[in-house]
């Protein structure tokens, strides 16, 4: 939403549950881009669909390609090479980025969990080693170039202000840098509660009402955790963008708009 304030932006939703589409109020995720707001579209992508598209491209006769996709033989081959569909998905993201650059647009990918995303980004190198020579080998080399080009690709690691999330974020950043040669990385610290009490006020508040002391302590701990985690992320050389905790009874498009507004001075559109 923040980027779409100035340029057309497409959210590529890799999560088949379609969380981004639901939050943006466009219902279930769609295989074709759907308008979610002015200059903002949501597009659902899946590895299986990319495999089907690829087969249909190299076997343009629909009857034969469908036969192939449905055959047990083909199922054996793809089962024996489980990274092929992920590789094609990464290729698709690269193509979308190319089109976006040409049309002066942004692509924001709502990725999978950290481990699954690292596997997805590692797949280009895996396929290049396997393919030897040929179309896939060439594509794999191009993809490795794409994800390591800071002008075309970057990663935002989203972490909650918690120790385990921090460890995972730091390890992910290290893998991205050292194994995948990806250097445009930022961290987004999600759920940062605004400080409310000074230390003196907190002490006074906890002494004044024991029933409410736990809530005050909770607030202080949220604040302390965010401060500690932010410091660690910055120490690892990551630029950190805070997203505020949403103290609201529900989370929907209006709350997303609040998060978007909170990024106005942090993310240049």
């Amino acid at each position: 939403m923040r980027l779409a304030e100035s340029r057309a932006t497409i959210v590529a939703d890799l999560d088949q549950r379609g969380s981004a589409a639901r939050l943006l109020g466009v219902g279930t995720a769609q295989e074709t881009p759907v308008e979610a707001a002015e200059r903002l579209q949501v597009h659902s992508l899946s590895a299986r669909r990319e495999l089907e598209r690829f087969i249909q491209r190299i076997v343009p006769v629909r009857m034969i390609s469908n036969r192939m996709l449905g055959s047990r033989t083909f199922a054996y081959v793809t089962a024996a090479l489980p990274g092929l569909d992920a590789f094609l998905l990464l290729s698709r993201l690269s193509a979308m980025a190319g089109e976006a650059a040409r049309d002066d647009r942004y692509v924001v990918v709502d990725g999978l969990s950290t481990g699954a995303s690292l596997e997805l980004l590692s797949v280009a190198a895996g396929v290049r080693r396997l393919a030897g020579a040929g179309t896939l080998s060439r594509l794999a080399t191009e993809l490795e170039g794409f994800i390591s080009d800071p002008n075309r690709f970057g990663v935002a690691i989203v972490a909650a202000p918690q120790e385990l999330a921090l460890k995972e974020a730091l390890e992910a950043a290290s893998t991205l840098r050292e194994q995948l040669n990806i250097n445009r990385i930022i961290a987004i610290l999600n759920g940062v509660a605004a400080p409310l009490f000074t230390p003196a006020e907190a002490e006074q508040a906890m002494a004044a009402d024991l029933n409410h002391a736990a809530l005050v302590k909770r607030r202080l701990e949220l604040d302390a955790a965010a401060t500690r985690i932010r410091r660690e992320l910055e120490a690892a050389g990551l630029r950190v963008i805070d997203l505020p905790m949403l103290f609201s009874a529900s989370v929907g498009k209006s709350e997303l708009a609040r998060l978007s507004r909170s990024m106005r001075d942090k993310v240049a559109a």
Binding site: R22, M68, T73, L130, L164, A205, H212, S248, V251
Partner: protein, 359 residues
């Protein structure tokens, strides 16, 4: 200690659920609870991220089972607890070395280019190997309970389908399909695959043929173990818990996930709602707070947390409606801080309680 969710027949606890709900913490806490009740417990994660070992302060780089220092908790009558993270390549190599009929056949597989590529980093292989590791742990008579911490929801479904895919990939018909004796219906597919090979440069057909042929003599064992793993996962010794949090988006994911599990023939025994906020204190108590500036801040603080509690309560109502008949809802508390130590995990473990809600 509250009433235990386990009974003596449970040998496997499967923890499933969406990402970001504290599944690893809950799985660790449940494992710890069983260990503190006197059981010998192995907790295994198949999540590529090292969260389980981190949570237990163990070496995240190790693929070996590591003993958790229960003596630090000074609980009498405790059993033992080990934790391990699945290393797919290491497990696959062990399976080949253990089950190949001859050394030469094992070497042929270990040297196969396709094997070397798929047994390492490529996605999906972990699911196959988790089954093998699960059986290895299951066959250890010293282990009373195995707790399996799975990857987030969508990948967990891949994991549960792994026995079938293993059978599909390695059954004896694969050799016939790829090597010869093709049925007419597969000939077109094979012809197209040959074209696919030429276009991509992968030479997959011959690679897969060679790969599948190198498994000759091992199909039967794979098939038996895959069928056995499936039988364990759907049998009475397996307790299936879905972990979630009382958040709107998580609940939609959880509902969809429970539906998928049902279609896959996996019935859930219970739902653990993690990070349940404590009850809110009465707001009227704030009226007497002075000075007014502090009172206003405390009121704001109360409003903020009350909004979160309201969100949680609404989500819980939905959860109660959607769980399958007979399944229980258990609640795990939000400590108000992140669990940093074994003591924190023990506190969560002791607090996990049956809410009494059941459909």
């Amino acid at each position: 200690m509250k009433r235990s969710p386990f009974n003596r027949n449970h040998r496997l606890l499967l923890c499933l659920g969406p990402g970001g709900v504290g599944k690893t913490t809950t799985a660790s806490a449940l494992g710890l609870r069983a260990a503190l009740e006197g059981k010998a417990v192995d907790v295994m994660t198949i999540d590529p991220a090292p969260r389980l070992l981190d949570a237990l302060h163990l070496d995240a780089g190790s693929a070996q089972a590591q003993e958790v220092a229960l003596e630090d908790l000074a609980v009498s009558g405790a059993g033992r607890m080990r934790a391990l993270k699945l290393d797919p390549k290491h497990t696959f190599d062990s399976v080949i070395n253990r089950y190949a009929p001859t050394r030469a056949m094992a070497d042929a597989i270990l040297d196969n280019r396709l094997y070397r590529s798929i047994s390492g980093a490529l996605a999906g292989v972990g699911d196959y190997m988790a089954m093998e590791k699960l059986l290895e742990l299951y066959d250890n008579p010293q282990t009373a309970l195995i707790v399996l911490d799975t990857p987030p929801a969508r990948e967990a479904l891949d994991f549960l389908g792994a026995p079938e895919r293993m059978l599909d990939l390695l059954n004896s018909r694969a050799t016939a399909l790829l090597g010869g004796g093709l049925r007419l219906s597969d000939m077109a597919a094979r012809a197209v695959l040959s074209a696919f090979d030429r276009v991509t440069g992968l030479h997959l057909l011959s690679e897969v043929h060679s790969f599948v042929r190198s498994f000759e003599g091992m199909y039967q064992g794979f098939a038996e173990r895959a069928a056995r793993a499936r039988s364990i996962l759907t049998g009475p010794e397996c307790l299936v818990l879905v972990i979630t949090t009382a958040e709107e988006l998580r609940i939609e994911e959880t509902a969809a996930f429970i539906g998928s599990l049902g279609r896959a023939g996996i019935a859930i025994d219970g739902l653990v709602v993690n990070r349940m906020a404590p009850a809110m204190p009465n707001r009227s108590g704030l009226a007497k707070i002075k000075p007014p500036a502090l009172r206003d801040k405390m009121r704001r603080n109360w409003r903020d947390f009350a909004a979160l509690k309201q969100r949680e309560t609404a989500a819980l109502r939905v959860l109660r409606e959607m769980i399958p008949a007979g399944a229980a809802i258990l609640a795990a508390p939000d400590l108000g801080r992140e669990p940093h130590s074994l003591h924190d995990l023990a506190e969560i473990a002791a607090s996990i309680d049956n809410t009494g809600w059941r459909r």
